[in-house]
């Protein structure tokens, strides 16, 4: 687009500085948010539960030696702010297992970091595929629906959206597995196959979870896009675009959609971030055993460090996605940079 090129013109001295200040401010804010989240989760997971965490680490019959070692390792003998300092330092700078340092699981002494890193790609692939599908199809359906408003196309699209929003994921997921995999045999079944086992195999196991997860969001995005676009198309600058003699296509996609996209970008960032820890149902139905599954298992076995690990990772993802959204927003809408 011509505009993008014009945005980074060499003679344009003022703009980049504005952007850098804006981004720096947002970044500082993001770090503050992550620190706050760390502090609150630290209190909730280590300080609120009864008894010393050392006791939980050492299992049913704790030895004095084990308790002493654990107390030292977690700095439990020091004031709580020092303890938190080490906790935060480990998270940001890494511990003996590397970055991010998340400590050890109560259950089996495995480092939470390795658990999270092992599970993360599954969830991230699930989100990446699903979000691409829902964004592309959701926005397209929304645009089509807005342009063909009050016609059969619009009503069908919105009916489909209503279905997508209402259908529970566990039902839809099982139905999809039953029909597409069991009866038709078109795709792989449940479970996760790593990318290293061949892209075809990987795809055929992911396509159903992608579609099922995407359907819900696609429906929401289609409605959101339709309503935003309809509102934007009533704006005076759309009339100006038509008065210029631009083709209707350009009017809708370049002038209308551009202005309708900002709220969609906002919720897109948040939806993705929330799914990092929150795709539990989809992960369970398709037995993907990603981060959601990890957190769920941690919770039912009272393995607090594991739950905490997933929680801080999710929270960080939310904060970082917020930062990304803010930056994208500033590029999309020049007025934001001056706010």
């Amino acid at each position: 687009m011509g505009f993008r090129g014009a945005a980074r013109r060499p003679g344009d001295i003022v703009r980049p500085a504005e952007m850098i200040f804006y981004i720096a401010g947002r970044l500082a804010w993001t770090i503050a948010v992550i620190l706050t989240v760390l502090f609150v989760t630290f209190l909730v997971f280590f300080k609120l539960p009864n008894g010393s965490p050392a006791l939980r680490f050492c299992g049913r019959s704790p030895t004095d030696q084990c308790i002493q070692l654990t107390t030292q390792r977690l700095h439990l003998d020091k004031p709580f702010y020092v303890e938190f300092g080490y906790f935060a330092k480990n998270f940001f700078l890494g511990d003996e297992n590397g970055w991010p340092g998340l400590g050890y699981s109560y259950g089996n002494y495995v480092s939470v970091r390795s658990e999270v890193l092992q599970r993360a790609p599954r969830t991230l692939w699930l989100i990446a595929g699903a979000s691409t599908i829902w964004l592309v199809f959701g926005v397209s359906i929304g645009v089509l629906s807005a342009v063909k408003r009050r016609t059969l196309v619009d009503r069908l699209a919105m009916g489909f959206a209503l279905f997508g929003i209402s259908a529970p994921v566990f039902w839809l997921g099982l139905m999809a597995l039953y029909v597409v995999w069991k009866i038709l045999g078109l795709t792989g079944g449940s479970g996760y196959v790593p990318l290293s086992d061949g892209i075809g195999n990987w795809l055929s196991h992911l396509i159903l979870p992608w579609s099922v997860l995407a359907l819900l969001y696609m429906a929401i995005y289609a409605r959101l896009t339709r309503n935003n676009l309809l509102e934007t198309l009533g704006e005076d600058y759309i009339r100006t675009a038509r008065a210029k003699g631009l083709p209707e296509r350009t009017v809708i996609l370049k002038h209308g959609l551009r202005a309708s996209l900002t709220p969609i970008v906002t919720i897109f960032g948040l939806d993705i971030a929330l799914l990092v820890g929150g795709a539990i149902i989809t992960e369970s139905v398709f037995n993907i055993q990603g981060l959601g599954w990890l957190a769920f298992n941690g919770a039912i076995t009272q393995d607090l460090p594991t739950v905490l690990g997933v929680v801080v990772c999710t929270a960080t993802a939310v904060a970082v996605m917020n930062l990304v959204v803010d930056i994208v927003y500033a590029f999309l809408d020049p007025r934001v940079r001056y706010a």
Partner: protein, 340 residues
């Protein structure tokens, strides 16, 4: 005489709504020639803007029925396909609107938006289009046009935004410029500059201008002809000089009396009582009769046609020409009395 630039013949616009049919414009006719400014005056809802949108083909054909003829250099625009009409929009007929802030896209640079108008009808490179945009911004009086072209609309003042809109309207040297309340959203000091600019543009480009406004003061400064509209109908139509020196229609008299001037104090202003009628259910007979001080027996039954009076211009009122002249003379006498 040569073919007029723009000619409306019995233009009617009906909107189909849930509550019924809105008679937005009824049987409107006027003629615009090169070098002329036609001032269209009337209160809100009198059909001024709808008329211009109809000319531009910007009314949604699904909801609006447009009948009659809109002849642009002899071609009936209503008979053209949407795509043919699109090629005329912005190239042969351009339009500027009331609120220049709302009319510029908030997320694109001003120069880019003008360049886009260039490229809408001309296959030139982006760089060439941008260069033309800068030239035009310069021509409409934007200082440092080259740098300001990179600004976003919110970085422009109200007057500059309207100048930018005018620049955008001029990219293809149009034949007709429709200005729909171009100064209403602007400061008084800026209003005069914008009107001057429109007038200069008219002379420099030798085009016809349709200036829509509810402000008679604006019209008196620039228009060569005036069309007074009420409830979607023409009430009076003629050369500006005649309208201001010998108005014939009670509604025009009312407009003139409610117009503040330097000589006339606020307490001397006479508002027109009542409010404009609903266009869903227009009054029977003359649409103005419920508010008219001079109404008499047939006014609520007979729709007065737009006809010329001897040595005058066309108006749509059932009063006799003699009576119209008499009332006007009384009004002038009273005015002189007020001023002294």
């Amino acid at each position: 005489m040569s073919t007029p630039l723009l000619e409306l013949r019995d233009l009617s616009v009906r909107f189909r709504t849930r509550d019924g049919i809105v008679h937005a414009v009824s049987d409107l006719s006027y003629t615009l020639r090169r070098g002329e400014t036609l001032g269209v005056v009337g209160e809100s809802g009198s059909g001024k803007s709808v008329t211009s949108l109809a000319i531009m083909g910007l009314l949604n054909r699904n909801f609006a029925d447009v009948t009659g003829e809109i002849l642009f250099e002899g071609t009936d625009l209503l008979k053209l396909s949407p795509d043919q009409l699109r090629k005329i929009r912005g190239r042969d007929i351009s339009m500027i609107f009331q609120d220049p802030f709302a009319c510029l896209h908030p997320m694109y640079r001003v120069g880019w938006q003008i360049a886009e108008a260039v490229r809408a009808h001309e296959g030139v490179s982006k760089a060439a289009a941008l260069k033309r945009a800068v030239e035009l911004l310069d021509a409409v009086g934007i200082p440092n046009a080259k740098i300001r072209a990179r600004d976003f609309p919110h970085q422009f003042s109200g007057g500059m935004r309207q100048r930018a809109m005018i620049a955008m309207a001029l990219v293809h040297n149009p034949d007709v410029l429709i200005a729909d309340e171009p100064t209403t959203a602007l400061d008084v000091t800026v209003q005069a500059q914008i009107l001057e600019l429109i007038d200069r543009v008219k002379k420099d480009f030798d085009i016809g201008v349709v200036l829509i406004t509810h402000d008679l003061g604006v019209i008196s400064e620039t228009a060569s002809h005036v069309m007074v509209m009420y409830a979607g109908r023409a009430m009076e139509y003629g050369p500006a000089r005649e309208i201001f020196n010998a108005a014939q229609h009670p509604y025009t008299w009312g407009l003139l009396e409610s117009m503040p001037t330097v000589e006339r104090r606020l307490d001397a202003l006479v508002p027109i009582e009542g409010s404009p009628p609903s266009l869903l259910r227009p009054p029977s007979g003359c649409p103005f009769h419920p508010r008219c001080r001079y109404r008499f027996e047939p006014c609520d039954k007979t729709l007065p046609p737009l006809v010329s009076i001897p040595d005058g211009h066309p108006d749509a009122c059932l009063l006799s020409p003699e009576r119209k002249r008499e009332i006007w003379r009384e009004r002038i006498a009273a005015e002189i009395g007020l001023a002294s």
